[in-house]
């Protein structure tokens, strides 16, 4: 049992990473990676939403009729997202404004729905909670890696503090949206060179 839990927890971080391997949840992720701060808040929000909604759906799994399950799941997820959004609005209004619609878009983030469909509907609450948290963390990790490079190269700062010397000329291309995709392509490239079994024929 303990081995299983450990596997549930570690697998999504690298080997079964939701973004680079399962290709889920890229939608709302890349626009928030211009700065590390926004990316961290987004990662944290997604971890909370995936964890809690997996837990709730798993608790309800025996009483949800199969035919209307999508709508029930959407309502659970939307409720969690509203909670996160209201907390952010109350305690971190500036960041909430910066993330704009992307917090709301966590509802349609495929990771949340994907894990509920694939895992939480058929498993007990505690493993479901861990699975949700771990998938959120795997997602957040990629987000933070991309944001790290974009903020470092694009404005020479990390978390708003200057890291590179004043003489560094910021590369404005990195801040623009297309560069996020190319960086993500590079991450996939690195990961698949290490794990040869993931390569596509």
């Amino acid at each position: 049992m303990n081995e299983d839990l450990k596997k549930t927890l570690l697998n999504p971080i690298f080997k079964g990473n939701p973004i680079t391997v399962l290709v889920l949840g890229i939608c709302s992720s890349l626009a928030v990676t211009v700065q590390l701060k926004g990316a961290c808040v987004m990662a944290l929000s997604v971890i909370i939403v995936t964890g809690l909604s997996s837990l709730v759906v798993s608790l309800l799994r025996n009483s949800i009729p199969n035919r209307v399950r999508i709508i029930v799941q959407l309502v659970v997820v939307a409720m969690m997202v509203i909670l996160v959004d209201q907390v952010l609005k109350a305690y971190a209004y500036a960041i909430d404004k910066q993330l704009s619609v992307y917090i709301g878009l966590i509802i349609t983030n495929c990771i949340v729905m994907g894990r509920i469909e694939a895992f939480a509907l058929g498993n007990k609450p505690i493993p479901s909670l861990l699975d949700g948290l771990a998938n959120g963390a795997g997602y957040g990790m990629i987000l933070i890696i991309v944001a790290f490079f974009r903020e470092l190269l694009g404005s020479g700062t990390l978390f708003g503090f200057r890291v590179l010397p004043e003489s560094y000329v910021p590369n404005n291309l990195v801040i623009l949206p297309p560069m996020a995709l190319i960086l993500l392509g590079c991450i996939v490239w690195v990961q698949r060179s290490i794990q040869k079994d993931l390569q596509e024929k």
């Binding site: 939608c27 999508i70 309502v75 939307a78 509203i82 349609t108 495929c110 190319i182 698949r192 390569q199």
Partner: protein, 204 residues
């Protein structure tokens, strides 16, 4: 004139894919050949065009601060905007369900060609994203909301058909093994995004 400007802007400048990364999941998964990409693109245009004006009315008459004043004086200060996520997604999910049932009953041939795409659209970020952007931009009337909807739908369709065409050709080229499939697709989308950025300078 403003309608034309909004229309062109939402297709090229504020393109759902290249400027906001919306609807990326199905964009990457369903862009392997042009025919299915085309089907999904058209379905997205249709659903956007129907749900966005609906959500606009909902936002204007139910959700906005003070929107309920048509019910009477005592409702003037009611602010339901925190409910917008849940209502928008409910409208979208319900609408998709209804469309699916209608199409299945009356147009079985279209239903079989769209197949799994119709239910998938309910969780396509481009649809919910459209509604959330609509709420943020405060359009003046339903006409503007509908123009924005059809423009961003066409932008999405254009992007997915273009990527599918490139991927069909790319099957014949030599790509480094670790980059094959997902990796190179990300990069191609990035390069297409750079091409689309040339439209940013246009002011209408």
């Amino acid at each position: 004139m403003e309608y034309i400007s909004l229309f062109v802007k939402s297709i090229f400048v504020d393109n759902m894919i290249f400027a906001y990364f919306l609807g990326m999941c199905s964009y990457l998964a369903v862009s392997k050949n042009v025919k299915t990409a085309n089907g999904l693109g058209i379905a997205v245009i249709f659903v956007l065009l129907c749900t966005l004006p609906l959500n606009y009315l909902l936002n204007k008459f139910v959700l906005q601060p003070g929107a309920l004043s048509w019910l009477g004086e005592s409702f003037k200060d009611v602010d339901l905007s925190f409910l917008s996520f849940i209502l928008f997604i409910a409208v979208i999910a319900a609408f998709v369900q209804i469309v699916e049932m209608v199409v299945e009953k009356f147009l079985p041939s279209l239903y079989s060609s769209l197949g799994i795409f119709l239910p998938l659209i309910a969780v396509n970020c481009a649809i919910l994203g459209g509604s959330l952007f609509m709420q943020q931009r405060e359009f003046l009337n339903v006409g503007e909301a509908a123009t924005y909807a059809i423009g961003s739908g066409i932008g999405w369709w254009l992007a997915i058909v273009a990527l599918a065409a490139i991927r069909e050709k790319m099957a014949y080229s030599k790509v480094p093994a670790p980059l094959k499939g997902l990796g190179i697709t990300f990069m191609v989308v990035g390069l297409m995004g750079m091409a689309f950025m040339t439209f940013m300078g246009i002011s209408l």
